[in-house]
Structures are given as structure tokens and as C-alpha cells.
Assembly symmetry: C2
Homo-oligomer: 359 residues x 2
């Protein structure tokens, strides 16, 4: 892993280009994070750069650009493996382009997000990537733009911000898994998500202030309506913001007279808690309860049964957000761009037919 | 979760003291991170502060102290749940004391660690917490001290740095689990760890440049010697720095003619990979293979069988490191302090007696 500094600093863009079998101009585009190249060529150049331990000459870069060479990132919850993997995608792209990354955690709390943004701007980072906790509370993000720094949004868009945004096709993903469950005969389908409302009850989509969360619920309820299932809003549970909170919600739900036959978990931290509580209550997956979780977290394949998941392009979300930001730092101008990456359903063994009492 | 800014900023130390039922001086000691109070009182004050959403007045503080109110943290691998949980411990203490945290990831690479430290010092953070990738390569950490900023070490000590250090009792923990395995009749006990050597082979403790890793191997080998098991060095495998690298090591080991009857995984990322490979090869835990992992990661209790683990005081390691650093920022002087926190063995079902062919 470790290379001597002498060797590292001697590796040039030309060396990387030779190793990757591409032109120097192409290698420079990939390493600098600007212009368009195919995914295949980008991977080849990145692999070559990693093999040679290429490091851009930071001093030369900061002398020509006057920049500090630092990107700030504010994520919703660094303990959620979704965000730590996205941060790796960001860091890999940033490092190749010669930027260090400093990271802050909002804990999905807008006040903490504001403090983090203030800190990063005060520390004069060159640009910022954020997954906004509340899409309607983004004045502090407009301040970033006003300070002349580029901003990119990760995983969550904000309608009032015309900035580069990278999201996944959450609505389609949710439609797909709800359709799958309905197809297996499920009617009592619960949807459990982080994000809370004033009275901790879900009434309508307007209650939901986090874009990606809302798009998922929207897809889920759309698929229900499509199948003529009514009042499915009552099966949506908000406020699963911590394992403890999730535990209370799931415990409550699974011990009620009318319990769900299937649960959709909006992230893998929630999915794990559903799995634990079901087991504790002696419910067998998938016979007594079906489970689908967003995010193909590392543990989902080792449980018995392994869990059916929506595989999100998490690393790629981070990569793309960093690439768009680096392009801005390299002079790209114009309207905010919007990239939507595709998810994929991985069917394992946690989904079964609804129990005969189940419709 | 969310409080109006007006309410938050109106909450004073006196309010917190009243809510917690302690004196204002005591509340101030806890919130400011200085002086000594009992763990019980500290928890009461923290709970009260959280309930009232107490936030220190940052502007007033920075005017009186001239500080920026930011702590920098450099961890080995933010994707490892060990570090993301430790960071929560750091952040909780820092926030109560009025500091924001900015985080960098070294990926266990000293060059990246140096770049991160350079960035944090250039950004004028008030103090830094680091889990050093290489205890022998810490000149850049001495630079922090020279710049007049306090430094605290998280999870790993460095002999040449006389600074506040918080570690777990790794050696005793490793002795304990190896003793447990020997007691169940195991003789072919493999130990798999991150940290690599020049030739990717473990020869002696001198090869191991990360303090916590070395203390564990030392405890493990000590327990082996105690039981008159010889040449156990041959069963130590280094270089498990990524799931892919771990996979190769475990695959190789479990497919060899002389395979181990028990494996100790030095962290939960390694433990998960051992679990996956064993299953893929059709080996049953614990009949064909026993497994013990460091870190009580969230997934370890939901596998079949659930995994016996060393529960490390991870959140508390972060808390303690932040508390020591905040005390320095509040004027504490003198020699570096060293805190050693206790681990605990959680016996689940992944350890069995050695197979009869096993000795």
C-alpha cells in the first residue's frame, strides 16, 4: 500500500496515460475530473493511477488556481453505511483530482447542518457536497452559492436550488418492490422510514421534508393505488431515526392485532432492526413476515434467510457528485445538472407469499 | 428532534442544571468538558442538555477565546463501523462543549493521513484527534503539537508521543478469546488482521506498525505460549485491509489441506468476510469452524449462528478522547494522560469444541 514519497511525486499524468494505454489528454481529463470519457476508459485510468500511486502536485495546483484544494462534505448520518460508502466514492474522485475531503455529519438535524456549513465556509473549502436534511430549509445552502463556491447535492434534490444534483431512481425502486409484494398476495404492507412529522404520524406526502424519502413513499403509494389498495397511508410509519426509535415502531406494529404481512425498510439500519425484532417475537421470515430493505448492506446476504434488497448505486452517487463538483471547480458553468442513477432489485429469500389470512 | 432556533439559543447552562437537578457549576463542568464529575452526573447533565436542545453560544465563546470552535478528527477507515461509532462519541462530547467536528479519512494510508493533518492545520482547527496509521511514522503529528494545538490519540498509542491517549485493553481481550478457544480444544487457531508487512507475511511483532493491532497479536501469541502451543506465528495472517483482500486470505486458508479449526477476526469487517467465505465453502459454524470477532457490530447478533465477539467500548473511546482534548482546550496542562478502557466478551454460538481431528 505504502509508497515512498519520492516515487509518488515522480509519477506524472504521462505515466498514468502510458499505463492505461490512453492519450495524455484523455488521462488528464479523467484525473482532472473534466470533459467526457467513457466509463471503461475512466476505470482504466483510475486503475492505472492507483497502481502507480499517482498523486497530483498539490503545491503547483494551488499556486496556479489560488485554491486550498479541499472539498467539504456534509452527510445525513455517517454511521449509516449508505453514507460512508458514498463518501468513499467522493473521496476517490476528489483525491485523483488533487482535492482533500473534510467531512461533517448533520445527524439529519438542520441546525447541525447549518453549523457544519458555516464551519466549512469559514474554513474556506473550495466547494461543498451536501445531502440536505430538509429540502425546504436550504437558505444556508444558497449562502454557499453566494460565497462563490460550487455546491452539489448528494442523493437528495432541493427544488429551490438550481445546482448539480445526483440522485437514485427511488420512486421507481419503491414502485418495483411494492409491486413485487402485491404480486405475492400482500395487502397489509407497512413502509418504515426515517424523517419525522410534527405529530410523528404520516398524513400525506407534504409532511415529508426529505426529497429521497418522499419519492420512495410516493412510488410505494402509487403502486398501491395502481392495485386498488386503499388507505395504505395508514401503514406508513415515520420517525425511524435511530435503532431505538425503529425498535419501538416495529415492536408496536408486529404486536398489534392487525399486523403487517410485509414490511419495506427505507434503509438498511431500519431493515436490520426489523429483522431483529421479528426474530425476537418468534416470527419466521418469510412465512410470517416478508421483508424488503433499501441498500444492499454487507450483512443482508449472511442472515437466515438472506434479505431481498434494493441495491442502490451508492458508491457511484458519491463519485458522480464529486465529478460534477470538480468540473465546476475546473470552470464548468451553466445550469445545474441532474443525474439519476438506476437501482436494482436483488431477490433473496425474505419475501414469500402472503399468509392465507393475509388479504 | 427539531427545535426553533429561538428556543435553542435561549437555553442556558442554568436551565440545563435545573433540568438535571445539579448545581450550575457542575453543569458547566460537564458542558465545558473540564473538571471531574461522576459518570452518573455526567449522563444526567448530557440527557438534560439533549432534552432541552442546549447549544452553547458559539459567537460569545469565540470572542472570549479567539478560537474557531472546530475539532479535527482523522480516522483509519470511516467505512469501518468501529470508527463511525467512535466518531459519534467524539461528536456528542464536542457538540456539548461547543465545538464542531470535521473529519478526515486516512484509509490507513500514512501519506493520506499526512495530507489530512496538513489540511486540518491549514484550516486552523483548534485541536486534533487521530488514530495513527503507523505508530513509528508520526513526525507530522509532532507538527500538530509544535503548532500549539492539542492532540489526542484514539484507539492507538504512539510511544514517541507524550499526548493524551485513549485505548482499549486489546492485549487482555485477545488473551481471553485465545484462552477460550484453547479451552475448547482448538490448536490450529488462525488470527487475521489488517495491517500489512513488506512481504505480506507475519514474522514477528516488530513487523506490526499499528499499536492496537500489535497489542492484540501479542495477547493472542502470549496465550498460545502459555498453553505450550508452538509456531503459532505461522497462523497469523496480515494484509486483510479490504473485504476483497480478506476474502483471498480466508479462501486460501480454508481450502488448504491443513485448515484452521478456529479463526479470530481482528475487526468486524474481517469477521463478516470469514463468515461469508465459510458459508460459501459449505463449512458449518461452529462444527467445522469456530469464529470470534473483535467489535460487536450490529450484524453479529442476527446471523445463524450469531457470532461470539469482543465488545469494545467504541463509543466511550471516542467520548474519552474528545473529553481529554476539550480539557486541553480549556487550559489543562501537563503530561499526556493514558486511559485504558475495558472490553467484554459476548459469548454467542459461533465457538464450539475443536473437531476430533483438530489437535
Amino acid at each position: 500500500m505504502e509508497q515512498s514519497p519520492a516515487r509518488s511525486s515522480a509519477v506524472t499524468v504521462a505515466d498514468v496515460a502510458r499505463e492505461a494505454g490512453v492519450s495524455k489528454a484523455t488521462a488528464a481529463r479523467v484525473l482532472g475530473g473534466y470533459g467526457t470519457v467513457s466509463a471503461k476508459v475512466r476505470e482504466a485510468v483510475k486503475a492505472a493511477a492507483a497502481a502507480l500511486d499517482y498523486r497530483p502536485n498539490e503545491l503547483a495546483r494551488s499556486m496556479t488556481t489560488g485554491r486550498s484544494g479541499t472539498i467539504g462534505v456534509v452527510v445525513g448520518d455517517i454511521e449509516n453505511p449508505f453514507f460512508s460508502l458514498a463518501v468513499r466514492g467522493i473521496t476517490d474522485v476528489a483525491r485523483l483530482a488533487g482535492f482533500n475531503v473534510i467531512l461533517s455529519n448533520s445527524g439529519e438535524d438542520v441546525a447541525a447542518e447549518k453549523a457544519a456549513i458555516r464551519t466549512l465556509v469559514a474554513k474556506r473549502v473550495d466547494g461543498i457536497i451536501v445531502s440536505p436534511a430538509k429540502e425546504g430549509d436550504v437558505e444556508h445552502l444558497k449562502d454557499i452559492e453566494r460565497s462563490g463556491r460550487p455546491l452539489a447535492l448528494l442523493d437528495r434534490s432541493a427544488p429551490s436550488l438550481n445546482v448539480d444534483t445526483v440522485i437514485a431512481d427511488d420512486m421507481q425502486a419503491a414502485e418495483g418492490i411494492t409491486g413485487l409484494l402485491i404480486g405475492r398476495g400482500h395487502r397489509r404492507i407497512a413502509y418504515i422510514t426515517a424523517c419525522d412529522t410534527a405529530d410523528h404520524v404520516f398524513h400525506s406526502l407534504d409532511d415529508i421534508y426529505t426529497d429521497s424519502v418522499r419519492r420512495r413513499i410516493e412510488g410505494h403509494l402509487g403502486a398501491c393505488r395502481e392495485a386498488s389498495l386503499t388507505d395504505m397511508e395508514e401503514w406508513v410509519r415515520v420517525g425511524a431515526n435511530s435503532p431505538e426509535a425503529t425498535r419501538r415502531i416495529v415492536m408496536n406494529m408486529l404486536q398489534s392485532a392487525q399486523r403487517p404481512s410485509a414490511i419495506i425498510a427505507s434503509d438498511s439500519v431500519i431493515g436490520l432492526e426489523v429483522f431483529k425484532v421479528a426474530r425476537e417475537l418468534g416470527l419466521t421470515l418469510p412465512d410470517d413476515l416478508s421483508l424488503v430493505s433499501f441498500h444492499d448492506a454487507d450483512w443482508t446476504s449472511v442472515t437466515s434467510p438472506p434479505v431481498t434488497v434494493v441495491q442502490q448505486p451508492v458508491y457511484q452517487l458519491g463519485e458522480a457528485a464529486a465529478r460534477l463538483l470538480v468540473e465546476r471547480l475546473n470552470g464548468e458553468v451553466g445550469e445545474g445538472r441532474r443525474i439519476v442513477l438506476q437501482t436494482r432489485l436483488i431477490e433473496r429469500a425474505s419475501v414469500g407469499a402472503a399468509p392465507s389470512s393475509g388479504s
